[in-house]
Symmetry: C4
Subunit: 373 residues, 4 copies
């Protein structure tokens, strides 16, 4: 495949973009080969990446007739903010790789559409700059900075900049085996920088030592660090990347204000379950103590109602909004959010759910989905 120069972003939405998959189709023309491999690729054989999407598609919904849903709505409240709907932009690094306005554009769209957005530690625009330009609530995604002190310094900056919550990523102490990206030879282009923090220095390895166990994992956070951290911060902290019910319980005990069931979009460890498959176990373990969110494979409003039915308070989307960002900047992201919200509204109306709180397991045909549940 010869890669031509990626097309410049569109300034109006083509009439044949009517759902998230259409943005993916368009985005291919607006992103170069290597960045496409980075964005689309998952770990190893991408089994988990595929499973994420497939699982939502396989779970069936029971439609209900003649229900009264007049004056229904999709509002929800999280960490003190009322959101127009439960669709939140997941943290995605270095968004200027995909559009010149990067995080500014996606955060703008989120605010206009009543969403919250999560800004990455690895953003290509400083967390303060993003916050100043936001029109809605922002959460700050946190990567451990190799030490407690460096991590706390970063958190304090996010607090000062007005972020409303921390989203601490716990599933990626090592970046995984992203073979598609490796084959494509992707690296962040020179003109784009992760401006918030300097790169983390890995320990120098002695002969015969392991880059994994003695390198990356030697500076990775462990539960003790979390216990310490929670006592030094004032913002609510969500743990993102929890899949196992026991980790969810432990996170709540440690002071988590929320859980994000996630496998990092299938980008870290391959052959882990779809997030849908982990959700019920985490919800049961958390038992209502804190909100549980979920990401991974959300592509339709019907996926969102299914997530709610399994106990999620809200969902995060990742790749889909980057597709929209690359295709048409803030306009694209806003349009995508509108499409998903409208799909959610229709799904609620046709299953007889007037509000998010009306959505429960009874809308699901679970008996045929035992393999994924």
């Amino acid at each position: 495949m010869v890669q031509l120069m990626p097309a410049t972003p569109l300034t109006a939405i083509p009439t044949d973009i009517v759902c998230a998959a259409d943005y993916e189709r368009y985005a291919r023309n607006h992103i170069n080969d290597a960045a496409w491999a980075y964005l689309q690729g998952g770990a190893a054989d991408e089994l988990t990446f595929a499973a994420n999407c497939d699982a939502w598609r396989k779970l069936e919904l029971w439609p209900r007739a003649l229900a009264d849903v007049r004056n229904g709505h999709t509002r929800c409240t999280l960490f003190g903010d009322t959101l127009a709907h439960p669709i939140i932009l997941a943290p995605v690094a270095t968004q200027r790789v995909f559009h010149a306005e990067g995080e500014l554009a996606s955060v703008l769209a989120a605010g206009v559409m009543g969403s919250a957005a999560v800004v990455s530690t690895q953003a290509s625009i400083s967390l303060e700059n993003v916050a100043e330009n936001a029109q809605g609530p922002l959460w700050f995604q946190l990567y451990w900075q190799g030490s407690r002190a460096a991590t706390l310094t970063l958190i304090k900056r996010a607090e000062a900049a007005g972020y409303r919550a921390l989203v601490f990523t716990v599933d990626a102490p090592i970046s995984g085996v992203r073979n598609r990206e490796q084959r494509a030879g992707f690296s962040v282009p020179g003109q784009v920088t992760q401006v918030n923090v300097p790169p983390i220095t890995l320990p120098i390895l002695q002969e015969g030592k392991s880059a994994v166990f003695d390198g990356f994992m030697a500076i990775a956070p462990v539960w003790d660090d979390i216990n310490w951290l929670v006592n030094h911060i004032s913002l609510p902290i969500l743990f993102k990347g929890i899949m196992h019910a026991d980790d969810a319980s432990r996170a709540v005990t440690a002071g988590a204000a929320g859980i994000v069931v996630s496998n990092h979009g299938g980008r870290v460890l391959d052959s882990v379950p779809a997030t849908l498959s982990a959700l019920s176990g985490v919800v049961a373990a958390v038992n209502g103590a804190v909100p549980v969110l979920v990401d991974g494979g959300i592509r339709r409003g019907t996926d969102i109602i299914k997530a709610r039915a399994l106990g999620a308070t809200a969902v995060m989307i990742g790749r889909p909004y980057i597709h929209a960002l690359a295709t048409a900047g803030a306009l694209g992201v806003a349009h995508l959010i509108r499409l998903l919200r409208e799909e959610l509204e229709i799904a609620m109306a046709l299953t007889g759910c007037k509000t998010l709180d009306d959505i429960n397991q009874s809308v699901l045909r679970t008996d045929s989905a035992t393999e994924i549940l």
Copy 2:
């Protein structure tokens, strides 16, 4: 794909049309691109559309040897009319999009072949005109007209025109997310009109209100409307679009004379179960009080015997007869009905069923089909 002018309808049946799938193949040449997207497309990712067909195919039949089925037949009685067989034409809107003679042709074929046909509120020929030209029993498909009064006015016209039953569609208060149709930019061509009733006016939305909850759903019928309606009509009324057993029970309590298990051909809410998967639950809930019909994915006589075995009194076909209509007008529709009936007869003969009443669960290999049942 360059769309050439669609071919004019055939006036004789080619010898290689020997089943419904052959009409679908031929029809592609007789329908333009946009109308094809409208006809073939389902909601969103078309998961339900695919599931409808797949489910019938997956359910297996036990053949029986040496049974005495001499003088068998496929007759059944519905709402006072004896039909030659249990294959009924489902309501399909604006059939003049597909053939110049539109509803007149399909209704003619149904009458000649001993079928009943259901005429849509959104027909492209007036309900009175269709009724005058019919040769067999007609049922009238009813969309709620935004108010009780307007709806009742329409019903009275159908009663006056001699329709034998009402088929009230309850699954489509909003038209769903028909992405394939949207991408193709389909709209009903100028020369074809929905002549029975004027378009329904949606409420004007205030800032921040939802087109779904405050628009479409604000004028959608609810159970109270049904209770009122049933007391003001004399025709038997079937509820079409029931999938959940609880809705079936409620419909019977509300005075339904019949239930049509349907998901609108997968055109409204995607990822709902195949109609086959809903049928047994509805039949159990109705418990013999009224006839239960089913549509969605019926493409073979073997599908019809399976539907009967699961408790359906009759089936409706939709897209298949439109394929036949576009290919060869009334001649095509009549031929299609004959093919399906003959397939049904052969399936009955080879499973040892002399009449429709002989068909029961014992013809099914249900233990291997738990996922769809």
Copy 3:
């Protein structure tokens, strides 16, 4: 596809024919389009045809190590004849469509290889002529001849000609909806004739009568005919086309000397189970009273050992030997039988079975195959 003249049969076996599938690949070049559609096609959507093959492939075998199988063999005895192996040629009509020597070639090969062969009522060479040229035991496949008298006359000819058993086909009182064959417009070529019996005359239908119920089924045999028949013949009679356990029981009660579990190669009623799926039920119902054979989808020696493990005494092959016949005449058929027998021997050796009687359910991994069993 432009059909060139089919290639003349080969007189030596190419080195790249090493299994049944290779003969299928070669046969395509030796059979014209219409005859290919007739041979390969099944009923309707060919679901059952596909299921037959798939089912054998899905069932897994446990290999066993270091077993002593020296002096093992594949011999079995059926109706007084000892066969070198349990691979029998199923009845196939008008084999001169596929090779000039037709049934003479296939029967010759069977005899040379120690097989029994079943000669069809609809053979293209007279049953007496075939019998005179045979080198091994022949069974005669019987179609009901419209009346008891005509049927008995045919049977007496078979008895007189030395056939060793009757194989009475009970699953095809009507030929089914063979759409692929219909689309191809196949008819038996003029130079090939079904020489044994004249075509059966169907009743003349009155207006409004059914070609199925009042035509074909009016002259089809029923259980009463069987009871009569069994008392008038001396040859052992197998019932071919039994799938339901209750029919198997009834056949045994009626005097069957054997059962052939068969769905006619998926050629009569589509969406019936794979024969593998019916086998266990029939074996249980017959409970050792008579031998149970099976056909449908047998393509490998491993399929044969699986059939034995499920309780079948022997298997029949159909299409595979016609592929070999068309490719290389009697030489091809003999080679095919040798390949299958050798595969069976290897499968027996590697599962630790010295004789056919050593094969039982313990060689199967049944717990993972509940869907097909």
Copy 4:
């Protein structure tokens, strides 16, 4: 397909080789058509070959967050040798077919990377020569030599040459129906020889005798031979090719020092279960008495952790290292081992396992994998 001359091996690793599958892709260019068919092909329809790989992919892993795995490692001890990791090179015959340096190259790579390697009876370089050049522990793969005496002679040579263990192959007394290889007409090229032992002479068959039962199986070892053998050797002996739990028990009773769950890479009897499907049963039967190893379809570090979780002590890889050997000789094999080991380390770190002993069933999502378990 026109086969060009295979490309000469590479002397540096291309940057787009980042996992085992990449070596398979590259290897196609370095191996001629017939040898490729020999290497890649399995028995018959290659169902088992495919099942081996699919099964590992289907089993899901639970990631764990924030675990302390600092100073973790992958070391294990087998038969007195400490290996850097549990990835062992399976025996593969005549490796000079794939690279001029053959076994010398693969054994060198294994030693450098801290692996053990198993040298085949059918090696293309003498067992003594290989042993002299090795840098790590070698095991000797043993084929029965037709008699106890000849077999013992070969074993004594291996003992004398310093091999650390015997790997006695029990699943291939006959070479199976390798159709792909047969069609390609593969034979070992003239310049490559199986130098360790002369070809085994098969018995001369009398008329009517079976090449399987009276030929190959007449000189195959049986349990009695094993009982004798174990009393005459001093090296630990592993039984390779055990799939059934009862055979595993019997092997332990007979004195096995280890079991290798294997189906010979799907090359001998087709339609046997994936090795993953056999592993748990064997582990339960062995009950810790001796180490259980497994091969077949291992392509990822995640596969290795799954094997450990099901009770395997170590894994063997076969085709993957031949792909690496053909692509880039010893350098390729060493690189492949490094890739797999690093994938294993990452999988351990992300599932919270610091050492191999920490890996157990709790890392698996077994409830969704009942079909393969």
